[in-house]
Subunit: 408 residues, 2 copies
């Protein structure tokens, strides 16, 4: 059984993770920044060293393509992820998937493997969405979900324009986005959650990606003196907001479903110690891998808000901020991942991705699936993001096995 070159893979993860450090050693490579250019240059150098054809499209997506005269007419098998980061990031999110893709191709080349179709590795632009909106931008453009002109005109949090920045750093390529139509898409990623670590399972066979419902709720009551207003005469927007938070928690925790509900941000007005809040504004993040169940949860929330308005003498308004349907990955690829893990004597579990990934965009145009490896403490988007070397290597070998099958 062939295996990836562990020192080469781990060394590259660390080398790329050293690019974009500030004076305090914090890692930040925002899309199309100078640090991103350095990271891209390093990656492209490795792609060329590996003898791959390098192609850059107009939105800056980078492709390293291994093809031969014999298979050049076939749709390629694509392995991808991203190398942009959040602010003060860890070194694994995204980069692991791209570098493992390269590693798999190099390993297969060196082994004398003769693929039936091209195998390519992609680094998609601006997956994190920190500097420019929307996130998962490069893969979304590739999948035809948004026009390239629109995103090139995107204005960043620093006032920059993406198209100008890509040109400045030398990554405004010539290829039309979507030029590479994959036969299938694979993405290897750290879990960014605690499940694999908690259960002691090294491989996640990701079968779907949660649907997301983001809402902003505004509750209006009446500001009144905290000392002079009897409890029975209050119209307390803050208290009503607290009821919603406990309702969501009790409902999600009491169910057997994988629904998760989070109130992550809140604001009271006037926000004074001795004034009953006249207004509470808070966000609700509801996720479920099943669209039908996500709708049931949204309806239950709406119904509760209606009852609350009457019971607490407040008015409630809801603004929808974002809504994504769940993504179903390709069951045949998921089964191949499980089988590959079994063959290597590694435990695997089917799981849902709670975070968004480029794979969800690519699933629109090709059979796709993801492989997860454990994240220590479930921590991500943070310098403490960590996965053990052996776990990283194990994940890359599963990717190797699945790629071998799909391109065999």
């Amino acid at each position: 059984m062939i295996a990836v070159d562990a020192p080469r893979l781990l060394g590259r993860i660390r080398e790329l993770g050293a690019v974009g450090r500030d004076d305090e050693n914090r890692l930040t490579r925002l899309a199309a920044s100078d640090a991103d250019k350095q990271g891209r240059d390093l990656l492209v150098g490795w792609l060329r060293q590996a003898g791959l054809d390098v192609a850059i499209d107009r939105v800056g997506n980078i492709f390293g393509i291994w093809q031969s005269p014999e298979n050049a007419g076939q749709a390629p098998l694509l392995i991808g992820s991203h190398i942009d980061t959040v602010i003060d990031a860890g070194i694994y999110d995204g980069c692991y998937g791209v570098l493992a893709g390269l590693e798999v191709i190099e390993t297969l080349k060196a082994s004398g493997f003769s693929p039936s179709r091209p195998i390519a590795v992609a680094a998609f632009t601006n997956e994190e969405g920190v500097r420019y909106t929307p996130d998962m931008m490069g893969s979304l453009v590739h999948a035809g979900g948004i026009g390239v002109g629109t995103v090139l005109a995107a204005v960043g949090t620093d006032g920059s324009v993406l198209g100008q920045e890509l040109a400045r750093i030398g990554y405004a390529g010539d290829e039309e986005p979507g030029f590479l139509r994959p036969h299938a898409y694979l993405e290897l990623h750290i879990e960014q959650g605690p499940v694999l670590e908690r259960e002691g399972v090294p491989i996640g066979a990701v079968e779907n990606l949660q649907g997301i419902s983001w809402q902003r709720v505004t509750i209006d009551g009446v500001a009144n003196h905290a000392g002079t207003t009897p409890m029975s005469m209050r119209s307390d927007a803050g208290h009503a907001a607290a009821r919603v938070i406990t309702f969501l928690r009790d409902r999600a925790k009491g169910s057997n479903a994988p629904t998760v509900a989070t109130v992550g941000s809140i604001r009271f007005e006037p926000n004074a110690i001795n004034v009953i809040p006249s207004r509470a504004v808070f966000t609700i993040d509801l996720r479920d891998p099943d669209e039908r169940r996500l709708r049931v949860e949204e309806a239950a929330l709406a119904s509760y808000l209606g009852q609350l308005a009457a019971a607490e003498n407040v008015t409630v308004s809801v603004e929808r901020l974002a809504r994504f349907e769940p993504v179903l990955f390709d069951i045949r690829i998921v089964e191949r991942i499980e089988a590959a893990a079994k063959k290597r004597g590694l435990g695997a579990r089917r799981m849902t991705s709670g975070a968004g990934h480029d794979a969800q965009m690519m699933a629109r145009i090709a059979p796709a699936a993801m492989i997860f490896v454990p994240s220590a403490g479930g921590i991500s988007h943070n310098p403490r993001e960590h996965t053990e070397d052996a776990e990283l290597v194990a994940g890359a070998n599963i990717l190797l096995d699945v790629v071998t099958q799909l391109a065999g």
Copy 2:
């Protein structure tokens, strides 16, 4: 039965209420500001017109004293309140009590009444505490609760020093604070709460003032991804805070006691839609007129926070921000207020003051009580603060009757 001069009283309330308006007609007379000087000058002019001796103490408290050679040796009966305001204030809070005190004295003088002791009206400095801390400052100094040197050195929200500002506006007086030791103290005030209006009762005989317990609670959990962290593995500081809010509400509402509990301000960290809050910081305002019961409520809260920390896997720390014991007013004066209302055919109810007033400081050094009149909608500290003219006049006549008895 004699009665106050209603047009004179109402006219002065409106005239004083016109002083300190900005371009948008918002009323703001912060302590020792130029607007406060204008208000003080107007008041002092009226005191002199009424033939009263005007005295100013070192903290700027203004006294208008009606005394005769016959009663000058007796401890005076003092009527007081304040004429400083909050930002964007109504015209009644404080001013009504001071101007009604003056009105009562003028009415008694004109009626040929010969008091057995001097009668004085006081306007205490910085009751609102908006510009300088602490609030109820002038009466606190008068009652010996804080040194005059300390408060004159107080630095305001605008960087000003109170002592310098009082000198600048001409109200750094010569009298030592506390020079006037009252026989008894009366304060007439708008309720600033909804009870009298709701019950259709024109006169409140205020028998006590709530004890106040202010605490700031900090709950620490663990920030995690809202999508990838199962409900069972969360340590959600925001949810724990919501539990405290609903606990306080359910406990206060389910009890027959007059306890009130308010969470008026809150903050989550990192306060992002898709991140489980690692920290929630919020304030708790607990009030009860009975010290024993207030302690029971504080203990119940502390016990709940302990349980919550264990159940929700969070840490809880509590900081005490302020603690005032309840104030008991003089029952004999309260009974006189009730009797006076009855005699004029006005309904009265005993009640608790939920807000702080100068009377609570004066109760430390003399028998004291307060008279309340209704506040429309319970609204105060707001331009919509309103009491009907007839209600204002009725309250002043009750003050007149009680003063007549106490100085008869």
